[in-house]
Symmetry: C2
Subunit: 398 residues, 2 copies
């Protein structure tokens, strides 16, 4: 009746043309490769702890299977307040907290709030591809500003970033610690971004999902990275994105949260209602247990990632064929391999030849094309094996 | 720094102005009223059966807490194929099935696919308010076409509906059995809509979440209502929306599904990825158990709703002060009360005076303002009590 091309032509142009995530592309390419060590996606190798899972089951047994609060369970929102009070050393209010169906949904809702057709959002690049995708789906234009990799360091080029402002700019997006770069913005850099946003009356959207994975030189063990929550009023034009996924090994649960001005609380509640109509109450109970009883698990996770960082950085530095900025946060290494330009082809060949799953840097936008991303939130054994395979492959092929 | 009005002014106009659901408004007004019988929202009073909950827990215990397939677990998609093969008497293919984070998300994704700024979607009205809301959030214009209530019957006014076509129309939306009307489109009516959509090259989006709740005169016990799946090719410009919420008492789980042409499969997968990045695998395991082992539970649910329908229709008909079209499907009664025009004020007064929660018809768009909606998917006892209170209140106040 309709052939495929005709059918696609009847879709919204921006949505029909939206590419598949380059991370998912390589994942689908290699997911069935036998013996593969998967370092391509942003999750660790540990399942959610049993005591967290049990809380979901207890809730199910208690019959909490009905519609629930669109802003999140009151108990979970209060637990989020307590967590932030402790971690950021200031007093928060429950009315600024919104539970969302993943950090991704928090990002989508933030974009839906501020930018549609004809609008622009500034994003430093390379970045997680889902940011610009969420913008394009809303008809907005992501203005991806490439940062510089020079002398083994990524430079947060504030002048270049701010130079992207136009009359259509509605927001500036930051992600520190950065996926995929592993860089962390200093408080001074965050202040500069905040002042820029204030001066121009645009929104500052800050994705801080890796806040706890922070490895500053000489201050290992710091509880969290610098945050816009240190320097902004929660009632100003600011939204802060977070998730249960990374800290508590809950990637599969799809629960996140947002901190935003109470003045737009009803708008965010409406967006939750009209996108998915809320997050399962029983899954929220598990999140409540995670955030109130999971602190030592988080510390273990961060310590494990730090060990992973040392292992992969040492292994690749030892080879002499890799270039990278040693990550100060998050749990990714973003690296170049001498002599390799086509990172998509190489990522496939590395899967075929030695069964290591890397994400090609092309997935992360302008400035990342020559890089690969690996996730080091994994067991020492699997990382050692993967690094051995990878350095061996490079010696042979690159 | 910013006051609330200034802050709201910096949001996208269509999103900032989007009203709160009128159903949620009344729900929030009365949720803490002691002794309230809640007939306002679209869910029954039974929790999810234990054997379904257990499947989620088994999955959690097995460690299925990681990212999963964006189109849904292969086993669940296959189970959806088998379910539809049986229910619709034709052979479906797994590539046309997409698991979504609620029926709501399926609707949002369908709208995101086809309509943005400057586009229009035709919707018969009264309708579930989340349809036009999802359209407006995408910048599209819902063209809500009021149907007629005359001589105690709702008439599906095809000429008026088709008269709403403009060069900007991208889709026509239908919902049969209808929330809130309880009406069911005949196969001839569905064919007329299909032919109209085909002729004009627009999408037909059909929300069939109440398909199993079907009470045709003289054919009680029919397994399901007429469907676009009876008369359309799944590879044409058609999307069919469904959910686990209503059939298996899983409203709180937020899992739905969509049937769509395989040609747009990658687009739908991308939208899942960029909206919420998938549905928890362990919740999908529960859905798999529901759809493969829950058929007798569905039959019990439908039988119970049918009893509820008889009870509320008889109670209100007996009073002589109510006017309604006896529902042929879904589990709502949409009714007028003689002498009451301001249904929002009356719904609040009914909560205050006799603790019965009704949704005012204003929530459902043009043509519904003079009506109330109640949900009869509840125990006989609570419905009897509620109808006694309501008829008593009407005798006193209206």
């Amino acid at each position: 009746m309709n052939d495929a091309a005709n059918l696609t032509a009847t879709l919204r142009a921006n949505v029909g043309a939206e590419p598949e995530s380059g991370i998912i592309q390589i994942f689908n390419y290699g997911r069935h490769r036998e013996g593969l060590i998967p370092l391509w996606v942003g999750e660790g190798d540990l399942p959610t702890p049993g005591f967290i899972c049990d809380a979901a089951y207890d809730s199910l047994k208690a019959g909490e299977t009905f519609y629930t609060y669109q802003r999140g369970l009151p108990e979970l929102r209060q637990a989020l307040v307590d967590y932030h009070d402790t971690l950021y050393g200031r007093a928060f209010d429950v009315e600024n907290f919104f539970v969302t169906g993943s950090g991704m949904q928090a990002i989508m809702n933030a974009v839906q709030c501020v930018a549609g057709t004809g609008d622009e959002i500034i994003v430093p690049s390379p970045a997680w591809p889902n940011y610009p995708a969420a913008m394009r789906i809303n008809g907005a234009r992501p203005v991806e500003v490439p940062m510089n990799f020079a002398n083994g360091k990524w430079v947060f080029d504030i002048d270049r970033l701010f130079g992207a402002l136009t009359p259509n700019t509605k927001a500036i997006f930051v992600n520190s610690p950065s996926n995929p770069l592993g860089t962390v913005l200093s408080q001074d850099e965050l202040i500069a971004v905040r002042d820029f946003a204030r001066k121009h009356g645009i929104w500052l959207i800050s994705d801080e999902v890796y806040a706890r994975y922070y490895y500053p030189e000489g201050a290992v063990g710091s509880a969290r990275a610098p945050s816009i929550l240190d320097i902004c009023d929660v009632e100003e034009q600011v939204m802060c994105i977070n998730t249960f996924s990374k800290n508590w090994a809950m990637t599969g649960w799809r629960v996140g949260w947002m901190i935003a001005p109470r003045a737009i609380g009803q708008v965010i509640e409406n967006l939750v209602q009209y996108n998915t109509s809320g997050v399962p109450a029983f899954n929220q109970r598990a999140c409540h247990t995670a955030i109130t009883q999971g602190e030592s698990f988080v510390n273990d996770q961060v310590a494990r990632a730090l060990e992973g960082r040392e292992l992969v950085c040492n292994a690749l530095a030892g080879s002499g064929r890799f270039r990278f900025h040693k990550p100060q946060g998050a749990f990714y290494l973003f690296f170049q391999i001498d002599g390799i330009d086509d990172t998509v082809a190489a990522a496939r060949k590395i899967i075929d030849d030695v069964a290591v799953g890397l994400a090609p840097g092309t997935a992360f936008g302008p400035g990342g094309e020559q890089f690969f991303r690996l996730c080091f939130a994994r067991s020492k054994d699997s990382l050692e094996e993967a690094m051995g395979r990878l350095t061996g492959w490079v010696e042979k092929h690159a």
